[in-house]
Point group: C2
């Protein structure tokens, strides 16, 4: 029976079987070591005579677990008997044995299939999985229902620009830029819904914070008074993601030196009109400055209507501003949300009567929709802020952008 490297300590003095990859080798003349990697971590195997095992060879190894102070985890495997399950066909294009990968990001991404095996790369995506789980736990506890909305849609409704076109049985279709219209529709069904899934943006520019495909954690909730109700749920969702990392990926967070943010019950907020910004939107430098001034988690509310989509609810008293918000996290926009229009007549007016391509989307609003709002969280950005990534591609398994479609 195979045990995991993390279980080795509990088996000191016993003969056990491990399985995994040859992560590193060291030959010290009389004695040599193989570091074995499995899904739980690393273990040191002591060989009395050198054995030809190339990096990434997959092995089963049986041996005696022996307490040894100098071994990682305090226990090493001696008197090993190896069985090779699969050999590596050639040397790896990135060197996995060092504490940190030394290759440049393009090389790491080109060879993601191997580079992701490095403990530090792998840990990044343990954080991502834990964050997704924490998001769901938080919203499940608040009565939300998970939905799966279609990614192939009939019209490029949300913004018109930056949309991928598709040949759909001989006619045009598009990849959904967000589940926006579907999650709103589903508020009419479940009142509270969320979706974790891919969204697609044909971003014409290559920046360190944009991708052509990313994971969006979306939620939408009915019967709200205004966007501050929505912000409370957004706060709860982010707190859930942080808690998910804390409880489900503690080892990965430790390995990467992640300092989790404190998420107080009430997050600070500042209205756009009080940010000192003249433009209709914040620039990256503004986001960094505001977080320095107000804290690592900061809501900015009331974005000018000019920069928010047509379905955004205006402020009743000064409609040049909206009932919208972004949540900044460590100097970068992490969450975007707001209250939406909910009356059919308001949508017709907001579209200037041109409801044509939106008719299908508007059906829910013809038949009674409560005041509602929602938000979207970028998974890769959340993890990126946690690990201090300089480029969003560092926290994306297989990134997609203008020039990258492989692996």
């Amino acid at each position: 029976m195979r045990i995991l490297t993390a279980e080795l300590q509990a088996h000191a003095g016993e003969r056990v079987q491990l399985a995994g990859w040859v992560h590193a080798r060291r030959d010290l003349g009389r004695v040599s070591f193989v570091v074995l990697r499995d899904r739980a971590g690393l273990a040191q195997v002591v060989l009395d005579e050198p054995l030809e095992l190339g990096p990434e060879t997959v092995v089963e190894v049986e041996g005696l677990a022996v307490a040894a102070e100098q071994a990682p985890g305090g226990v090493e495997l001696r008197e090993p008997v190896f069985r090779v399950l699969a050999e590596a066909a050639q040397p790896t294009p990135v060197e996995l044995r060092r504490p940190e990968l030394r290759e440049q990001l393009p090389t790491i991404l080109d060879h993601a299939a191997v580079a992701l095996r490095h403990p530090r790369r792998r840990a990044v995506f343990e954080l991502a999985a834990a964050a997704m789980a924490g998001f769901r736990v938080a919203l499940d506890a608040r009565g939300f229902v998970e939905i799966a909305s279609p990614k192939i849609v009939a019209s490029a409704t949300e913004s018109g620009a930056n949309v991928f076109a598709l040949d759909y049985f001989g006619r045009p279709a598009y990849l959904a830029q967000s589940p926006q219209f579907y999650k709103q529709t589903m508020v009419g069904v479940f009142e509270r819904v969320y979706e974790v899934g891919p969204v697609f943006r044909a971003e014409p520019h290559e920046t360190a914070r944009h991708l052509a495909e990313y994971v969006s954690l979306d939620a939408e909730v009915g019967f709200v008074s205004d966007h501050f109700d929505v912000m409370r749920f957004a706060r709860d969702a982010v707190a859930g993601m942080v808690e998910g990392v804390r409880t489900r990926a503690a080892g990965a967070a430790r390995l990467l030196g992640v300092e989790l943010p404190a998420v107080p019950a009430e997050l600070p907020w500042v209205h756009f009109a009080d940010t000192g910004v003249d433009e209709p939107d914040l620039a990256p430098a503004d986001e960094r400055r505001l977080c320095e001034e107000h804290g690592e988690l900061l809501f900015v509310t009331g974005y000018p209507a000019a920069k928010r989509p047509f379905y955004t609810h205006p402020e009743p008293e000064r409609p040049e501003y909206t009932r919208s918000f972004d949540l900044l996290f460590r100097g970068q926009e992490l969450v975007t949300g707001g209250q939406r229009l909910h009356r059919y007549a308001d949508y017709v007016a907001a579209l200037g009567g041109e409801t044509g391509p939106y008719e299908s989307y508007l059906e829910a609003f013809r038949y009674g929709m409560p005041p509602h709002g929602g938000f979207a969280i970028g998974l890769e950005r959340f993890v990126g802020r946690l690990v201090g990534a300089r480029n969003i591609r560092e926290t994306t398994l297989f990134p997609r952008d203008r020039s990258r479609l492989l692996p």
Copy 2:
């Protein structure tokens, strides 16, 4: 403070506030009733004088909760004071007030935004959400890590046919027919991975069991001996989905009269060679017959190599058969899986040396991959079997097929 209809009973004798949709009205001369629908259920409101509230009007209503034997739930709301939050702009295209929708499926799908509000339609997707949650719980408990793989891919690698083509910044790309290659690659990283996400098939035919886009529950696991190890995980995943429905969607299951299957620790299995079928694949009639003969959950193993993809591991002793399986559930294929090839040289041989379009996929196999396998479960099919759906579109929120791209 708003309470939910399901909480009304606990508040008998108190003045409370409900909110929701006008689901139905009955005028009995001297007295009239409004049935209010919220996310938790229905409640009866007694009006002393008739009030003009059209179906699907969104209201808040304050009143006195009074025990009343004849009311659903045993408590009704009296002395109501209504506040209209949003009016319905026109009569609904489907009648929601009846215990079952009477409209035909195309009408129900055309007007999904409204039809999904019906308690029985809504319940179907509560089952789906619970099944997804149960899948994750089962695999999380077994050390699997959730991944999010890209849906835009560079080549139509898995089958070549039935793939959607895309304009990707001026060059061709495709929608992933499955996360197959990515989940295998990630076995090299995490050993055990799963993904819940959309997959895309340009199915040229319209059948009652195929869609152009559906939700696939995918898993892949390393260090297996053969496909029977994989089948045990597939069994556990399905058991988790059933348990998810049992614990998280009991009300919805009751409303729909769902009888959950028993999932014994060991599911029965039959080898393809012993099914009495001459063709290289099972026909729908064969699947129905086999379930009648062997049970509602039945593995068929060893499918002929001719009908399985190139990455399928052959049976060593008779390579015309493979280490593959389907899990049939109530007469229909629910799960497909098997052991995969894991050696680079075996892939090169299986592809007849033509590795060109697969080079990126094969990178993981160049650098040591353990024996592994996995499976995929169709979410809509699982729910379809539970509720006895005749058409897969009944258990899909917004179906996509050759002729349907809206809503």
